[in-house]
Structures are given as structure tokens and as C-alpha cells.
Point group: C2
Chain length 266, copies 2
DNA sequence: CTGACAGAATGGTGTGACCTTTGTCAATGA
DNA sequence: TCATTGACAAAGGTCACACCATTCTGTCAG
């Protein structure tokens, strides 16, 4: 009935270091580390798994919830609990960073700077490693930008996909994940800022500069082009709204803002 | 009795977008965003808060647990639930990244590269912004390294503090947090690798180069010095153990490996 | 062969109870 | 008078049971 051999799930350790639910977390985590649980796998039903681990269902649920909160597990009512299956680029949840920002009053400038640093590093790596396939994807997205200069929303999609493609070309999934964390938060602000057409054209040009530098295998040029692009983007955004991060979570539509871009093929 | 005015906790929204517990999370998150909950604050008892929010205690606990999993809240049995109070440098939990690494088979090389990119960016910023106080701290730690060439464990403490101080000098707490996330994971591997004395001396010298570059306000030199240092460190570590990330969580003593360094004054 | 329906499977929520740890404070003894 | 100790209360941790909501699946009618 279950998708996994039950032998894998050994009962909980007798000598618990911390609380029972922490022990459950450790147990599940270890199964992931050891490769017993792989992305896409489905866990046994809660009632069964609780029995297998020798804990009550609420305790097991507590553990599952903790893992779900950090984006490792995902529960769907009626379906089951699964190890998160990320398509291509692994995604770290950005809400922790978002909350940190609120708690410690991170400025929007700090966010931009962090993104800039990450993207510059990524662009530099991309210039060294991009395959012809990567270059083709980048080119396509730029074409898409120019084709949607009169449709800011569509433009934004290509914009995000471009950056995603650059990240993919960098070959470093960790930097990619970190970049996405930061970018997701900044995007919450940006989505309300409908850029003017002129800005879009300028932005598309900047992207093209980045693409060219990557194509020419010039890490330094790619870094500089990316920096120029982001500096400009920051200025454009700041000029349109004087508000800081506080306005990011104004209404609903929170979470997974990059969902559409995260699922792209590149 | 409670530490907070109860007026702050309005009952749960009637039209729930997702599940009830998700609504609880949103509620608490919003209170943090709006500043109603600040670091160090204590939440009302679960039983009371559940009533205030109009949900059952298990549901509330689910929400609290999710927030606790991402490092925003912290529950202590018998004491209460508190908003996490980070001393100085905010800390993002590294376990999500660690799990991602296991799930997707991140290589140790990727980790090193990510850390290198982050630290280079941070070093560059530090060169532009370090105050005399920062420089003094950096100098002290380097002195500490040279003073503990025969004590690898002590050396490691100064090493970490140095990097922490550089991060502080960069003035960007987001990059600092991200760096710590990555460094924490790499540190788990490193702590078992007791470097030879010769390596330590060389390492101390490299740190000094970084310090000098920062002192001379040369961002480029600081970046390069940091890169050289980390490249060397990576080589040294790789030569001592051929294992990858898998050996990171071998036995106990997981979590909060940087705790001692996180609480440092700088 | 296809679509709709019914039932089972599974996670989500609620209620109530009890245990364990922590904190406080008064009683006690030096 | 002060420090120690003990008991009591507060608060989170765990458990059992019941029921709801959603999703999947397999069967049956068309």
C-alpha cells in the first residue's frame, strides 16, 4: 500500500536527546541525508508512520510540519505527504529572510545590495560556464523582453526568466537559491511598480549587455553589466516609490511569487 | 499576566485563504511585520492565544511550530514562546540549506564556491566601509590567530571571528546571514579536520592580507585576498579528506555550530 | 473505451486530558 | 538577615479519540 518499504522506518531512538518531536525531525532528516527519502517520494500515511516511529500522530505531525515549514516536505490533504520535488532549480523558502528583514529592520538598500552581489557573482560564473543551450535560452528571453515592451507584466516574466537562466548557466545551485530568496522579496515590491515603457526599453538593453558579456566569456564584463543593470533597476524602482520594505506584504498574494519563474525549463 | 496587550491579537480572519493553520501563520507574521511583536517579546500562553485567535490549540501550535522551524519563534517548555532574540547579527537557520544539499546532491565544491562568492563580495564592501573599530577587531583576531598557531581549536575560533568581523564591517546583514548559512555547513566538515601547524601559519598570513587590503580601502585587493585565502583553505581541506558533504552529520552535535561565533561582540 | 459516481484513503481540525519542565515565592533553617 | 529549599502554579509537550474536507481510485453505466 505504501510507496516505501516499511523496513526503512525504524522506531524512534530510546535515548532521546531533546523532545520527542525533535527526535522525529532528526529521524526524518537523517532519512533524507542518507538518501532513503528522495525528492518526490511519498511518506507513509501519518497514522502508519506514527506507529512505525513509535510516536503519536500529533507528535509526528509536529515534526512533519517543521520540515514542511523549511520547504523540505509538503503535505496535501487527501493525497499524502511528499518530499518536495523542485523542478530544476532548488528553492529555499524566502519567508525566513522576509521575517528577519521585518524583525531587524533591514533596509531595501541592503536587500538590493545583497541581490547585486549575488547576481554579479552568478553572472561572472555564467560567463565562464554557459553552454550554447544556456546562451540560446538567454537570447530567447531577451527577444521576449523586446517583444513585450508595451506589456509590463509580460516583460517582467521574461526579465525574471532571464535572471533565472543566468543563474542556471552559473552552474551553482546554492548561489541560485540564495539569489532567489532575495529576489523573491524584492519582487514583492516590484510587482506593484509598473515600469514605464521607456524604462523597459532601457532595461532590455541592459540585459542584452549582460548576455553579450556572457557570450563573450568575459566574467568581468558580465559582472559589470549586471551591476549596471541592477543599479539602474534599483534607481528606477526607488524613484517610483519612496516606501521601504514595509509595503511588501500589504495585502494578500503572499508566498511563491516566483512560482512561475521557478518552474521554467532552463 | 501576559506580557503583551491583548488588544493586539485580533481574532482570525473570517475569509481564510488557505488552511486555518496557515491563517495563524499569516496572523503572527503580520504582527511581526507590523512591529507588534519584536525580538524578545513573549507571546501569550498557547491556550489564551488560541482563544484570542479563535482557533484550537493544536492548530495554533501548528502555526507556532512552523514559525519556530524557520527560526522566528522559540518555545521553551514551562517558560513560554518568544520571538527570537538574536544577539547582533541575525542568523538564518542553515538546516534548510543543509537538507537541500542532501536532497539534490550539492557538491562540496559548489558550497565552497558559494561561500567564496559571498565572502568576496563582503570583503569588497568591508574595504569600502570598515570603521576604525572594525579594523581594530580584525587586527585583534589576526593577532589571536598568530598567538594560537599551536592550538588548532583556538585558531579556528579566531578564524571564524575574523570572518564574522569582516561581515560586520561590510554593513550588509543580509549577505552576512547568507554567508553564515553556508559557512555553518562547511564548518561541520571542517571541525573534524584539525589542520596542521604549517597550514595555520599560512592561513593566518592570508587573513592578514585580507585585513591589509581592507585597511587600505582597496575593494579589489580585499576581494582577491579573500579569494586566495578561501581557495587555499578549500585545497587544504580537500587534501585532508576525500569525503563530501555526506559525512557532515555523522554523529550528534548538530545545529548551531556557529553559536559561539554568532554571539561575539563585533 | 470513456466518463461519472461512490467509497476509501489521507491530511486538517477540534476537544479534552495528562505529563514534564520551568519559574516564582513563601517557608524554613543557618 | 540571607540563602536554601520546597511546594504550587504556569506553560509547553504529548497523547488519544473523533470528525471534517479533500483527493485519489476503482468500479460501473453509457
Amino acid at each position: 500500500m505504501t510507496d516505501l518499504k516499511n523496513d526503512k522506518f525504524k522506531t524512534i531512538n530510546p535515548e532521546r536527546s531533546g523532545t520527542t518531536s525533535e527526535e522525529v525531525i532528526s529521524q526524518l532528516r537523517e532519512m533524507i541525508h542518507s538518501g532513503e527519502l528522495r525528492p518526490g517520494d511519498r511518506l507513509p500515511p501519518e497514522r502508519d508512520l506514527a506507529k512505525l516511529l513509535g510516536v503519536s500522530r500529533p507528535t509526528l505531525r509536529a515534526g512533519i510540519r517543521s520540515l514542511a515549514a523549511v520547504g523540505v516536505l509538503q503535505s496535501r490533504q487527501g493525497a499524502g505527504t511528499f518530499v518536495v520535488q523542485t523542478g530544476g532549480s532548488p528553492a529555499l523558502d524566502s519567508s525566513p529572510l522576509r521575517l528577519m528583514a521585518s524583525l531587524h529592520g533591514f533596509t531595501s538598500g541592503e536587500m538590493f545590495e545583497a541581490r547585486q552581489s549575488l547576481e554579479m557573482a552568478i553572472a561572472g560564473l555564467a560567463a565562464e560556464r554557459a553552454t550554447s543551450e544556456h546562451l540560446a535560452t538567454l537570447s530567447e528571453e531577451i527577444a521576449g523582453m523586446f517583444a513585450s515592451l508595451d506589456d509590463p507584466e509580460q516583460f517582467l516574466v521574461h526579465d525574471m526568466r532571464f535572471h533565472q537562466a543566468v543563474a542556471a548557466a552559473s552552474g551553482n545551485r546554492i548561489l541560485t537559491s540564495l539569489m532567489n530568496m532575495v529576489a523573491t522579496i524584492l519582487f514583492d515590491v516590484r510587482r506593484k511598480t509598473v515600469n514605464r515603457a521607456k524604462d523597459l526599453k532601457e532595461s532590455a538593453e541592459m540585459h542584452r549587455h549582460v548576455y553579450r558579456a556572457i557570450r563573450q566569456r568575459s566574467a568581468e564584463a558580465a559582472r559589470n553589466a549586471m551591476r549596471d543593470h541592477l543599479v539602474l533597476a534599483q534607481k528606477a524602482q526607488e524613484s517610483e516609490e519612496a516606501n521601504g520594505l514595509e509595503s511588501a506584504s500589504g495585502d494578500g498574494a503572499n508566498e511563491s511569487v516566483l512560482s512561475s519563474a521557478t518552474a521554467l525549463p532552463g
